[in-house]
Amino acid sequence: MEESKYVGKSTVRIDGKAKISGAAKFIEDIDFGADLLYAEVVESKFAHAIINSIDTSEAEKFPGVVKVVTGKEFPYRFGLYMHDRYIFAQDRVRFVGEQIAAVIARTPAAARKAAKLVKVDYTELPNVLNVEDALKKDTFLLHPELGNYQHVPWFFPKPDTNISHLRKVRKGDAEKAFKEADFVFEDTYTVPRYAHCAIEVHGTIGLFDNSERLTVWTASQSPYTQRHLFAEALSPLGLTHKDVRVITPFVGGGFGGKAGVSMEIIGAALATTVKGRPVKVLWSRAQEFYNTYQRQGLTCRIKVGVNKDGKIIAMDNTLYWDAGAYVEYGANVVNAAGLSASGPYNIPNVKIDSYCVYTNLPPGGPYRGFGYSEFLFGLESHMNEIAKNINIDPVQFRRINAIREGDILNYGGKMNPNGLIEAIDKVAEAIDWGKKEYSDDPNKAIGKGIALFWKAPAMPPNASSSAFLKFNEDASLNIMISGMEIGQGLLTVMAQIAAEVLSVPPEKIRVETPDTDRNPYEWQTVASHVTWGCGRAVERAAIDAREQIFDLIERALGKERSSLYLQDECVKSKKDIEFSLPLKDFIINGIMKEDGTYRGGPIIGRGMFMPEFSSALSDPETSQGGKPNVHYTVGASAIKIEIDRQTGKMTIPKAVLAIDVGRALNPNLIKGQITGGLLQGIATVLYEDMRYSDKGKLLNASFSDYKIPTAMDIPAEVVSIIIETPQPDGPSGARGMGEHTMIPAAPMIANAVEDALGIRIKSMPVTAEKIALSMINENIKADIINS
């Protein structure tokens, strides 16, 4: 690897000062003037009902109300991967909280009060609140029109059922292999729904001005996808893409929750009804819980065939996803997880069925980990159980089966270069694997757990990125991208990548958040792919600028092009050691010739990247063929927990996570992802889950009862281990790693609990309460056996 100057260094975030000084503007910090209108949404009281009528007359009369809008005005279906949802409910509501109408008023208070005056007459329908009910033969269909919905070619809906997509994987001959296996282990694991809990809520402001252009300010990970969906959904109004502008200021946390389009469509649509005036829609914290994407629930039935030597020869994994009322984004979670649900193992015979099931709960959607956290809980718990049953150490068992470069993936492609074995060995060493530890407190037991993880970006094969880069007079730079800074440090890393090519230090580079009028296309900031994809686009934009510089120097000064290079913000020549021309001397104003004429002009670079090797086309019955995944990022994580046998309470003296990032472009930022992601993962297993009433109403839509961890609830020590096996097509060899840091948390804690107490908990979360009550039951069982 060539010595680098900026890439690979822990450059201080270029957006750091804005964030610690309060200068960073978030959606709510933008002022829209005195004519700003406010919208309040009228929500469904029922999980499933027919809307007979909506009476808006009282609301319309309320002082301060400007307009009341219902679904009648927007009878269009839309969606990201499948067109199965509406801006406002049409004749039917499918979850508690679904938007039915909106009241636009001059003050938030007037909008709120008037919204209560909108009368909706419903006829209740049977609720389908879980996967089991949804799949029954005589079940009620949530989407009788499913067969007519437009969708991407890699989805396979089953009309006249509640199955909106089924991803089937068939590799080798699993049935035969199970018959040959020395042992077969089968079990079922369940995972509830989870909330992202970004500290900033969703908000959007739409302005359809008198020239009929629509500008929408959103708190979003996906400005271009939003623009596209707004333009598409509102095209009956005559809007085209050029008329729609999306501006995304800093985002107060995303985690997948601000990907795609959720409530933002309401702001865009409402704006078109009050031409000339901006209208704001802001979710309350409660709405943030019940009417944005949620992480889908999962029931997974897993069967593994293994030989005495510890080699896994077959896996059958059936995943039933509680995907909620609309699956336009969530079905792709089901798809991605289905393709990879064998985990980071080399298994010759694999059968996977991943079912996307409609239920009358809020829509599922992307959440950091994109389905992998969910299936890894069952898979990695099960791996430990198998190891225990066949008397092989869990670490050794994983080493035997871990996937290596060149191994055949579930869809027939080959595994990319990776350091999974190194990761396993390093976490095992860091956690003192194999050394049984005892607490000083007789009430407490210490346990250790390990889990492996892998994840590939889930993206369309043509998901692309682009970048503009422009020099300023002093040779400082502005880079324009539409990759979104959501906390991960994207702006800084993009600056580092350009800095490396152009020899301009990152502190002289400004990268701002997107405005689709100014910044070029980016698919979305999801899938842990922007460092990789957007990074390649920036790298190419920088190279483009550099080549223009060399062209100019050759043309204006006659220097041999191939001898030129950039160093310390100057153009230099290998053939002429004396030659050193500062960029600032010509980068805008060109180079003067002897006759007083100039050569050159402002240098502007452009770059784009599309993974041209990727394809989502494959046999629907087997998933063989195509290359749906651009690469997998792998790693291993281990944890030491101390459990109070009586209370079930746990503390975490140490957590270790090793991840192969290809190349650590900024090690400090990577460590930030590890400490943050791990805690988010730990919280899903120890504290959090979404609870619903038997009427489908979310019961814990607040931080008082959906407990996200505080500074007092963190591991005492987190060890971050960075492994670098370069990704051949990544910028400087880098690959994505942002989501991955949370996905091993649940199974490694469940495994540590088992190690400490001998109790296997197969449903998340693994709370103190669950452990304590399990211990009591175990003791009762033991007493019965003893007597």
Binding site: A109, A110, Y687, L699, P709, M712, D713, E769, L773
Partner: protein, 293 residues
């Protein structure tokens, strides 16, 4: 902007405050505001008058005279944590106060507000029943005192009468003693108690035990006290106490915890709290502020 229409006054004297509330239709008293303002915003209460007590200087005081600790109506949990008088004589009050919400709430929230809201999961309830505290009220008919035991009538219902203001709490010093506050939350950070417990170990060998969050109002567990008073704590005695706990408290299942776990934890908390209180009485045991669960 908030849609709530009410008037606001900040009197300097108690009489002034009493006069205002006597003339208002639906007056609410504002001290820390951490409950009240949330309820106003949510539309749960619709006051026509909000009387801010923070202008009345005497309410801001913690005094310890003639073996009586008096906590004024404006005293915040943060004040209780740093008070020397409390640290020296009633360290369990500081121990408890440190578990109430978080710093930014404790800087405003008051113990009196806590017992006036009187939600079942409040932390101050079992403290006051264990200490046999008196709630001091001022009203149109003058001052009156209500024992903590009689103060809590039901969930969110207290013995306060129309026109009255709680001016403070008086806590009689029970002689040299130690204690332990134990709170069950879902994690270490801010949480509403699923069970809480105050045990006092007095130097005469007697105990005071009160549970919170396991019934609509705090439960002073006198049967348990009678069982253990004056006795050497043994394993059998604890087992007997567990049986009584099953009779004395009636935890429910809600979103925060199941009744089974609450019952189980009430016993564990009792055993550990009792041991800690006894050790502390003998100058040992965990430092105040260290949770025993």
């Amino acid at each position: 902007m908030s849609e709530n229409q009410f008037d606001y006054v900040k009197p300097k004297f108690l009489n002034e405050a009493l006069d205002i509330i006597s003339k208002s239709v639906n007056p609410f008293i504002l001290a820390g505001g951490t409950d009240l303002i949330d309820m106003i915003k949510e539309g749960i209460v619709q006051p026509d008058m909000v009387v801010d007590l923070k202008g009345i200087e005497q309410f801001n005081q913690i005094t310890f005279k003639n073996d009586i600790l008096t906590i004024g109506a404006g005293v915040t949990f943060s004040q209780l944590i740093v008070s020397k008088v409390i640290k020296d004589n009633f360290p369990i009050i500081a121990e408890l106060s440190r578990t109430v919400a978080s710093v930014g709430i404790r800087n405003r929230a008051t113990m009196i507000g806590n017992i006036c809201s009187a939600v079942p999961c409040m932390d101050s309830g079992p403290l006051l029943t264990s200490y046999e505290a008196m709630i001091i009220l001022a009203g149109p008919k003058g001052e009156r005192k209500v024992s903590a035991e009689n103060w809590f009538i039901n969930s969110r219902k207290t013995a306060i009468e129309k026109g009255e203001i709680v001016t403070g709490i008086s806590i009689p010093y029970p002689g040299k003693h130690a204690g332990c506050f134990v709170k069950l939350g879902r994690y270490e950070g801010e949480d509403l108690a699923q069970v809480n417990l105050v045990i006092l170990a007095l130097s005469d060998g007697n105990f005071r035990v009160s549970f919170g969050s396991v019934a609509p109002v705090p439960v002073r567990a006198k049967k348990i006290e009678n069982l253990i008073n004056g006795k050497t704590i043994s394993h059998t005695l604890i087992e007997d106490a567990f049986n009584i706990i099953e009779e004395e408290i009636k935890p429910i299942t809600d979103i925060r915890a199941s009744k089974e776990y609450r019952m189980h934890m009430a016993k564990i908390m009792f055993e550990r709290g009792l041991n800690a209180a006894l050790s502390r009485l003998n100058g040992a045991g965990p430092e105040y502020g260290i949770s025993v669960i």
